[in-house]
Amino acid sequence: MNWPDLSMGGYGFYVWGSYIASLIFFVWEVVSLKQRKKALTQQQQQSSKPVSPPVLRGSINETTS
Amino acid sequence: MLRWIVWRDLMLAWRRRADMLSTVFFFVIVVSLFPLGIGPETQLLRTIAPGVVWVAALLASMLSLGRLFANDYQDGTLEQLLLTPQPLFLVVLGKTFAHWIVAELPLVLIAPLVGVQFDLSRETLWILFLSLLVGTPVLSLIGSVGAALTLGLRGGGVLISLLVLPLYIPALIFGAGAVEASVMGTSPSAHLSLLGAFAIVSLLFSPWATAAALRISLE
C-alpha cells in the first residue's frame, strides 16, 4: 500500500474536482429523496389515513365493507 | 382508404397554405442566419453548408410536427379515425405522407436554391437535394411518433423537440455526411445508401409506434 500523492502529480484539481462533482450529485439525490419522502409521509398522516401500508383498491389487504 | 386520407389532409393543408409557406420561410431564414453569424468567407461557408442546411431542415420539420395530429384531435376527427375498421397503421401512414408532401417536400425543393448561398457546386447541390429527398421521410416518420405522444399536452413544440431531436441524429449524420462527402470530392453513395436504409426501416416501424402512441394519448 502506498500513500497517494495528494496533489495527484499536479492533476489534483481534475481528480478531486471529478470526485467532488460526483459526490455533489450523490448527496443531492439522497437528500432530495429524503425530503420528498418526509413531505409525503407527513401528508399521509395528516389526511388521517392508515399510515402503512397504503391501501390501493384491489390489493390483498383491502377490507371489504 | 389510404388515398382518401392523403387527399383529405392535402386539401385541408391547402386551405391553410400560410402554414406551409411559413415552414419554408423559417427554413430559408435560419439558413441565412449562419453566414451572418459566422462570416462570409467562401471556403468556410462551403464547409459548414451541409450541416447548416440539414440542421435548418431538422428544425423546420420539427416546428411543423405539431400540425400533424393537432387539428384533427381538436375537432374530434382523430377519435373517429381510431374507431374505423381500417387499420390505424394505414391512417397514420396516410397522414404522415400528406404531412411530408406539405411540410418537407417544399424544403427539399428549395434547398438547392438556398445552397447557392454557400457557393456549392452543381454536383453538390444535386447531392443536397437527394439527401434531403431520402432523409426528410425519416424526419416525418420519426417525428410522427413524437407528435402522437405529445398530443394535447402543454409545452408544445419544445417538448416534441426534446423527444425527437436525439432520434433525428443518425439521419443528420448521414444526410449531412453525404453532402460533405460531395464537397470534399469523395463518393456520397455509402451515406445515401444508409440514409435510404433508415428511410425503409422507419417506414416499416414508425407508423406502428405512432399508432400505439395515438391510442395511448386518446384513451
Binding site: S18, I60 | L163
Partner: protein
C-alpha cells in the same frame, strides 16, 4: 405462495422499505473500499500519471447510465404490455438516477479530457453517444412530467423508452462513423490506460458500489412514487371522480 400479489404497489411498498438498508449500507462500504484500492493500492499510470484515477468514477458511471436506460425500457415495456403499474413506476424511478449517472459520466469525462488531451470537451464517439443518451433520458423525464394522468404517462413513456432503446445502437453506430470520418486515422481519444490488476479490481468494486447505490436510491424513489399516486388516487375518490 402467490408471488404475484407483490406486483401490487401496496404490497411491495413495505418490502421495498425493508430492502433499502441491505443495499444502502453495502453500497457505502464498497464505495469506501473501491476508493481505497483505487487511491492507495493501484499504482500511478506510466502515461497519464495520477490523472487516470478519474476512471474509477467515470467508467462505472458511464456503464450505469447505459445499463439503467435499458433496464428502464424493459420495466416500462413490461408495465405497458402487462398493465403492471408497479413495473411502470419502477421505470419512472430509474430514469432520474440513470440521467444522473450519465451526467456524472459526462462531467468526469470532461475533467479527464482536459489534463490528458487539452480540451474540456472532446467529440469522440463515446462522449458524444453519452451526451445523446442524456438527451434521451431528458426526453423521457420531460414527457412523463408533462402528462398529468399517471397511466397515460406510464404508457407514453414506455413507447418513448422502447423507441429510444432500439435507436441507441443505431445512434452509437452513426456517431462512430461520424467520428472516424472526421478524425481520420489518428489517436483514439480518452483511451483507457493499460489496466493492471489492482486498477481493474478498483473499477469493479466501484461498479458494484454504484449498482448497489442505484438499487437503494431507486427503491426509495419508488416508495415516494407509490405514495404520491396513492394520495392523488384517494383525492380523486374523495371528490367522487
Amino acid at each position: 405462495m402467490n408471488i404475484y400479489k407483490y406486483a401490487s404497489p401496496a404490497m411491495f411498498y413495505p418490502i421495498a422499505g425493508k430492502l433499502i438498508p441491505w443495499f444502502a449500507i453495502p453500497a457505502a462500504l464498497l464505495f469506501a473500499t473501491g476508493l481505497f484500492v483505487g487511491f492507495f493500492i493501484a499504482p500511478t499510470d506510466f502515461q497519464q500519471g495520477d490523472a487516470y484515477r478519474i476512471i474509477f468514477i467515470h467508467v462505472p458511471a458511464a456503464w450505469m447510465g447505459m445499463f439503467l436506460y435499458v433496464l428502464m425500457a424493459i420495466y416500462a415495456g413490461i408495465g405497458w404490455a402487462f398493465n403492471a403499474r408497479l413495473s411502470s413506476m419502477m421505470a419512472s424511478s430509474l430514469a432520474i438516477t440513470g440521467a444522473m449517472f450519465t451526467a456524472i459520466s459526462l462531467i468526469t469525462g470532461a475533467f479527464w479530457g482536459k489534463p490528458t488531451w487539452g480540451t474540456w470537451w472532446v467529440w469522440d464517439a463515446r462522449m458524444t453517444s453519452t451526451l445523446i443518451l442524456l438527451f434521451l433520458y431528458i426526453g423521457f423525464i420531460s414527457l412523463q412530467a408533462a402528462i398529468d394522468d399517471a397511466r397515460r404517462a406510464d404508457r407514453a413513456g414506455a413507447v418513448l423508452a422502447l423507441v429510444g432503446v432500439i435507436n441507441v445502437p443505431i445512434i452509437y453506430f452513426s456517431v462512430q462513423w461520424w467520428n472516424t470520418l472526421h478524425q481520420g486515422a489518428t489517436i483514439r481519444l480518452l483511451q483507457k490506460p493499460t489496466i493492471r490488476g489492482s486498477m481493474l479490481a478498483a473499477l469493479l468494486i466501484m461498479l458494484a458500489a454504484c449498482w448497489l447505490y442505484s438499487v437503494a436510491v431507486v427503491l426509495i424513489r419508488l416508495r415516494c412514487i407509490i405514495l404520491e399516486r396513492e394520495q392523488s388516487a384517494s383525492r380523486f375518490a374523495e371528490v367522487g371522480v
